[in-house]
């Protein structure tokens, strides 16, 4: 079966379907990581520049931090990724004891759309740009970091990667991946920066240090 577009490309370039592939130019070197402490500092500074709220917490502070978040952001319904670490932190139980309605993160789209808060765990973080990298699976549904108006991402120092080269080396075979760099934003009306136009208006990032 011939493909007329490929035929046209080959004709324009003077190639045949047997012409070997040339060598791809070499890529620049990746950024080098600094000490863990300074990488964490850099990451949190970038989150702040992006109008997100980043803070360092111990696992023992989770309950009180959730209490403040729920009160300040007026959270009634929430949905949480079904991951090992979030279970270990008892995130769901704490929310329930605060009177928050919990919706399964695999629930129907209309139900997820009712949630005020979505809680995820980043799989990788990039300090240079303040970026969260999230993978996708039935335990880690894509809508949780997108549809609710508040997104809380829990991260740990071991998720730090120096540059996107390292992330891609580990996750290039994933069927879905998303980089999240700050809350949803637009400047489409008179260049006024507006947060939360379609995705979350508020982004919280908690760096949990044991």
């Amino acid at each position: 079966m011939t493909n007329p577009i490929l035929e046209n490309i080959r004709r324009s370039l003077g190639r045949t379907d047997h012409t070997p592939l040339g060598l791809r130019p070499a890529i620049h070197e990746s950024r080098h990581a600094e000490s863990v402490d300074s990488e964490i500092e850099r990451f949190l500074v970038e989150i702040k520049k992006l109008s997100g709220v980043g803070q360092k917490l111990s696992p023992l502070d989770i309950e009180s931090a959730l209490k403040i978040l729920v009160a300040e952001q007026n959270i009634h319904k929430a949905t949480v990724w079904d991951t090992q670490y979030l279970k270990q932190l008892n995130v769901a139980e704490h929310l329930q004891s605060l009177g928050v309605d919990l919706i399964s993160s695999n629930a129907d789209k209309h139900e997820i759309a009712q949630c005020d808060l979505g809680i995820t765990e980043a799989d990788f973080i990039l300090p240079e740009t303040g970026t969260l990298v999230l993978r996708s699976s039935a335990e880690k549904p894509r809508a949780v970091s997108l549809v609710p108006r508040v997104h809380l991402a829990v991260v740990r120092p071991e998720m730090l990667r120096a540059d996107m080269h390292q992330v891609f080396a580990e996750a290039r075979e994933d069927r879905y991946l998303v980089f999240i760099t700050g809350p949803s934003r637009t400047a489409d009306i008179e260049l006024t920066v507006t947060l939360g136009v379609h995705g979350p208006k508020n982004l919280f990032v908690w760096m949990i240090e044991e």
Binding site: P4, I5, L6, I9, R11, S12, L13, R15, D17, L21, G22, L23, R24, P25, I27, H28, S105, N106, K109, H110, A113, E128, T129, G130, T131, S136, S137, A138, R142, A143, L146, V147, M164, H165, F168, R172, E173, D174, R175, Y176, L177, V178, F179, I180, T181, G182, P183, S184, R185, T186, D188, I189, E190, L191, T192, T194, V197, H198, G199, P200
Partner: protein, 480 residues
């Protein structure tokens, strides 16, 4: 809205640009220019990145068939569908066919230059499928029924009061004039559409051949909504968007947002390889990608012009362009404006349709200085001017007989010393006829096209005489 006219009259369009456009456009371009400069200053290896980016794009263009074949194989093995569209009509037909098969009544769209290029919205609307732009700026101009004035902020020419009036009229509400509240109204209105639409349509920034991955870069989150909520996702992407591998992508992601908006990265970068695997993870159950040619494979044939296909659509060239800043996006008569539009549209639509566009430039070169993949835009502009004037395989020469005669005479005069000197001596004779307050301000046609804008100084000596005088006055080797 962006179906291309049969002739693009840049000069005529630019004479009718509303007074509000240049100021609004310049507000946007000034912000993006300073944002870009700040990000570039942070990155010492910027120039090296640009060079690598340019080299990889060059390599990809030269091997495009191989990478497209690889991309197609990988998408298919991930369970996605690949369609090839030779023309805009083919592409529209493919999307329409998919929509009908799935009984689609409403489609939500994220911003895509490729769908604007082919006029997909018109085709879908004509078939009775409601098609909604969901990027805030695109949504506003869709409601207004106009085209984009800027690639990144398409509705920047509209004041908040105009947006409020538009929302009030079209959505049947009483909209406030606060941009934040207007964005909130759009969020709520479009949220309903995301939840009910049967199909999401997107473009794509890059196609990774290595794994068959579609890369989408957005800020608002509407791109994620379109690909996460509906069960059906159709992506329309030009064949020029293919890149070899993920390592190459690191270069382009570092160049793109910094060049476009002055961000280090845009808010959301998605990497989509085929449909979702598991029911509960969200994302489309069925994934289609349409690979659009629409003239691109023909552009590859011109070894000078083809560099336009290196473009990663950041808009930096428009932001620094003195012509674009004063006329805005509409005057370019196409889905893509600014310097890149001036070199892409004539090659895509044919030189007869867009023969004015290569002239819509001062050739100052600012565009080439900021281009993240080092497209030599002024060189291509000059090359296209030559193609327009002398004719190419697509069109006859357009140069007029009087101009051809003048050009021949000029080359004669410049080639022969004595003709030049004689002519130069002769010219001052005409001074008394047109001199006014020490200037030549009222020359006859066609020279009045220049002198009605700015007067010429009177003819005095010729350049050679002037040069000799300067040299002898200042010593033999000073002005070199």
């Amino acid at each position: 809205m962006s179906d291309t006219p049969s002739y693009i009259g840049f000069e005529e369009y630019s004479e009718h640009v509303p007074a509000s456009i240049p100021s609004a456009v310049q507000q946007a371009t000034n912000r993006f220019v300073s944002g870009r400069a700040a990000r570039v200053a942070e990155l010492p290896q910027w120039e090296q990145l640009r060079q690598i980016g340019s080299d990889i794009r060059q390599h990809t263009l030269e091997n495009m068939d191989v990478y497209l074949v690889r991309f197609e194989e990988k998408v298919k093995s991930a369970g996605g569908h690949v369609h090839w569209a030779e023309t805009a009509a083919d592409a529209n037909r493919i999307v329409l066919h998919i929509a009908k098969e799935h009984n689609v009544k409403t489609a939500v769209k994220s911003k895509s230059m490729a769908t604007e290029e082919i006029g997909l919205n018109h085709a879908l609307e004509a078939a009775g499928i409601e098609t909604i732009e969901t990027d805030l700026g695109e949504y506003i101009i869709q409601l207004a029924g106009t085209g984009p004035s800027h690639i990144i902020v398409p509705a920047v020419h509209l004041k908040k009061e105009e947006v409020a009036a538009l929302f009030s009229e079209k959505l049947n509400i009483n909209a406030p004039t606060d941009p934040v509240e207007l964005a909130q109204i759009a969020r709520e209105t479009l949220r309903e559409k995301f939840l009910t639409a049967e199909m999401g349509i997107s473009g794509g920034n890059f196609l990774i051949a290595e794994t068959g991955t579609l890369v989408m870069v957005t800020n608002e989150g509407n791109g994620r909504m379109c690909t996460t909520i509906p069960d059906l996702h159709v992506a329309m992407v030009g064949i020029d968007k293919v890149i070899p591998d993920w390592e190459s992508l690191t270069v382009f992601l570092k160049l793109l947002a910094r060049s476009a908006t002055g961000q280090k990265l845009s808010t959301y970068t998605q990497f989509i390889t085929g449909p979702r695997r598991e029911e509960g993870e969200f994302g489309a159950k069925e994934f289609h990608i349409v690979l659009l040619d629409n003239g691109r494979s023909k552009i590859l044939k011109d070894p000078v012009g083809r560099d336009v296909l290196k473009c990663i659509r950041c808009g930096a060239c428009a932001n620094v362009c003195p012509v674009y800043k004063n006329v805005g996006g509409f005057a370019y008569g196409s889905f893509i404006s600014g310097p890149i539009g001036a070199i892409l549209t004539p090659q895509m639509q044919g030189t007869p349709t867009a023969l004015e566009l290569p002239y819509a430039s001062t050739l100052c070169g600012a565009c080439a200085d900021v281009c993240p993949v080092k497209i030599p835009i002024p060189t291509i502009l000059r090359h296209l001017r030559r193609r327009v004037a002398e004719g190419d395989e697509f069109s006859a020469p357009t140069i007029s007989t009087p101009l051809r005669v003048v050009a021949s005479l000029a080359s004669l005069a410049l080639a022969w010393n004595w003709v030049y000197r004689f002519g130069a001596r002769l010219l001052p004779i005409i001074n008394p006829f047109f001199r006014h307050d020490g200037w030549l301000s009222n020359m006859p046609y066609p020279l009045n096209r220049w002198t009605k804008v700015r007067p010429l100084p009177p003819f005095t000596a010729n350049f050679r005489t002037w040069w000799m005088n300067v040299r002898s006055a200042k010593g033999k080797d000073s002005p070199r």
